[in-house]
């Protein structure tokens, strides 16, 4: 019980704590640790072997996957090659063979370890930051960013209207804000593409104006607009409610125009809520998949988002590639969320 900071008479700490740790460990920590561990061990997929020719080490090293070894004659690390014959593994069986037929000598543990480390770093960089991945990250981050910015304005208007203005049917409008939270993302996705496709209701109008929405980054941005809107509205509503009308009235009584009152007084006061809403919408946009894939068009280098690229890599059995991208994305969204938490704990030092 030393883990408890204060003893408590409430029952059930031991087992509820144990259940929490086990559950979070199995469901969160262990699965997510695969990303880190698999990325760190990316260089160990292949093993460095010493090449043997005519019974002599050539000094050359080849990197082979386990599955490539079947028909190769491999001697254990440190085998003595000076004799006539040597023990080697072929097709998984140990056989004594003439030393001239030996093809490879296995590395020592140290050789294997250092080769894994030295080859891992460039391999990870290649997997995580090759041109296609970088292009996908560019698409993902830019569309999520613009959608979140746009949402600040649209969400701001909605939040203001819902808090300050008497609108008939306000309660229904307020409930509708949660629609993107409640709708399955794939459903949103096919709705988006139907809406914005060149023959869809909005897409047709846009096409007349010469704007192509579906299968372009603009389409992705509009899809993310839908998915991110509630984050901004829900972050702003309580802040505006807290604010009351006095500040705005006071600024205007001092001769400010409504626009100036907003710019100089309201926006700075609700800045933390704006930042929260923006970050949440942005982070959600980075990871969004279902809403986007139908409308994105998924052209590599142009409209391929990172989440989709992970799926593509998986379908091609490039697990290491998928893992590397996933780790990059996870790091980015954690940095965002950690950053905003840090920002707020620094602002008011109160502990919640």
């Amino acid at each position: 019980m030393a883990i408890l900071k204060e003893r408590s008479i409430l029952p059930g700490f031991r087992w509820s704590f144990a259940a929490t740790v086990v559950w979070l460990g199995l469901l969160v920590l262990l699965p997510l640790s695969t990303l880190v561990v698999n990325s760190l061990t990316i260089g160990f997929e292949e093993t460095p072997y010493h090449v043997v020719s005519d019974g002599k080490l050539t000094g050359e090293i080849v990197y082979l996957h386990d599955r490539d070894l079947d028909d190769k004659a491999v001697a254990p690390a440190g085998s003595d090659l000076s004799g006539e014959s040597v023990n080697a593994i072929i097709y998984g069986e140990v056989e004594e063979i003439p030393v001239e037929e030996l093809e490879l000598v296995a590395p020592t543990r140290g050789e294997r370890f250092w080769a894994g480390v030295w080859r891992g770093v460039p391999q990870f960089i290649e997997k995580a930051f090759n041109e296609r991945v970088l292009a996908s990250l560019r698409v993902t981050f830019s569309t999520a960013f613009f959608a979140a910015i746009l949402n600040l304005f649209l969400g701001g208007i909605i939040a203001y209207a819902l808090v300050r203005i008497k609108i008939p049917g306000k309660k229904v409008l307020d409930s509708l804000i949660d629609l993107p939270f409640a709708m399955p993302t794939a459903i949103c996705g096919i709705a988006m593409v139907t809406m914005y496709a060149p023959n869809g209701p909005v897409g047709a109008l846009a096409a007349k104006a010469g704007i192509k929405i579906a299968f372009t980054p603009l389409g992705i941005t509009l899809a993310l607009l839908f998915i991110g809107l509630p984050f901004v509205v829900r972050a702003l509503q309580p802040a505006l409610l807290d604010l009351g009308t006095e500040l705005e009235d006071a600024a205007m009584s001092l001769g400010a125009s409504r626009f100036t009152a907003w710019r100089r007084v309201i926006v700075p006061t609700i800045a933390p809520a704006l930042l929260t809403g923006f970050t949440l919408a942005f982070a959600r946009g980075l990871g969004e998949y279902g809403t986007v894939i139908f409308i994105a068009g998924n052209t590599p280098m142009k409209t391929e988002i990172s989440s989709l690229l992970i799926v593509t890599q998986l379908e091609q059995f490039d697990y290491a590639g998928a893992t590397a991208i996933a780790l990059t994305m996870l790091t980015a969204s954690l940095a965002l969320i950690f950053g905003i938490n840090k920002f707020f704990t620094n602002r008011h030092k109160s502990l919640k």
Partner: protein, 270 residues
């Protein structure tokens, strides 16, 4: 003053109209499009599409997943909230950040990590499980595990702030009046958190019915077997069976609408 209040009115009317327009365009129009497409060939076609065998089996799998995930995450949510909200212990903040993690993770990444862990060929435990005839990804079990992961924070995140705010004085009072731990929980704690709990359950329910990304990665897309309803919608859509796709989508939208209605009712009582 006169002109001031009239400019205010104009400003309010403009802003209000704009807000309604944005809600209508961004949020309601997509819903309308789904319904329009679903019924474009009449109610008969809609019903037929929904009664298709593969669609029915997708509905069944979705219901099965929900029936397992919601109770498990409800119970575990209460248990975790009890430990984290009612006691002060070392590492508490670490556990809280672990709870927040699934929300920071893309659903695709959520699916991926379970393949890295349990995938039959390359997963950490996959080959061992495979040798024992257990398949935890590319199977119904995979769908359930991935859904557990993406939905488990809803209940516990709802309960922790609620239970911290309520403190434990009422529980102490119940104990001092002779209540056994179980009675204390059942008679005092549970009634106090019931609306928050229900709210969390509704969110869990909606997400487990609708989860797409994570499930898509781990399901294996075996038609009639490991396809949930959202996955089935994707397949139908990609096969250009639009009416069928939108019929299934309309059923899911109905769940979403019921969810937000239930949410707003419960939110008021919280």
């Amino acid at each position: 003053m006169e002109s001031n209040s009239s400019t205010r009115r104009v400003f309010h009317i403009v802003t209000g109209t704009l807000a309604v327009a944005i809600i209508g365009f961004v949020l309601v129009l997509p819903l309308g499009i789904i319904l329009k497409e679903a019924f474009s060939k009449g109610v008969g076609a809609w019903w037929e599409a929904l009664s298709d065998a593969d669609t029915l089996s997708a509905i069944k799998l979705t219901l099965l997943t929900t029936a397992i995930v919601v109770p498990v995450n409800t119970v575990m949510g209460v248990v975790m909230a009890w430990a984290i909200a009612k006691f002060e212990f070392k590492g508490r903040t670490f556990l809280v950040s672990l709870i927040d993690l699934p929300f920071a993770v893309s659903p695709i990444v959520a699916g991926l990590v379970f393949i890295l862990l349990l995938g039959p060929r390359n997963g950490w435990f996959g080959p061992w499980l495979d040798a024992h005839g257990v398949r935890l990804v590319f199977s119904t079990a995979g769908v359930i595990i991935a859904t557990l992961f993406v939905t488990f924070p809803f209940v516990v995140r709802e309960l922790i702030p609620l239970m911290r705010e309520q403190g434990s004085a009422e529980e102490q009072a119940a104990l001092s009046l002779g209540a056994k731990p179980w009675k204390m929980f059942w008679r005092v704690t549970l009634p106090n958190i019931r609306w928050g709990l229900l709210y969390g359950v509704i969110l869990t329910l909606a997400r487990s019915v609708g989860e797409f990304g994570a499930v898509s990665v781990v399901s294996g897309h075996i038609r009639g077997e490991t396809n949930t309803l959202p996955l089935h919608v994707e397949i139908l859509y990609n096969e250009y069976s639009f009416t069928a796709a939108f019929a299934a989508a309309s059923a899911l939208s109905l769940v979403a609408v019921v969810t937000i209605i239930a949410k707003s009712i419960v939110e008021k009582r919280k």
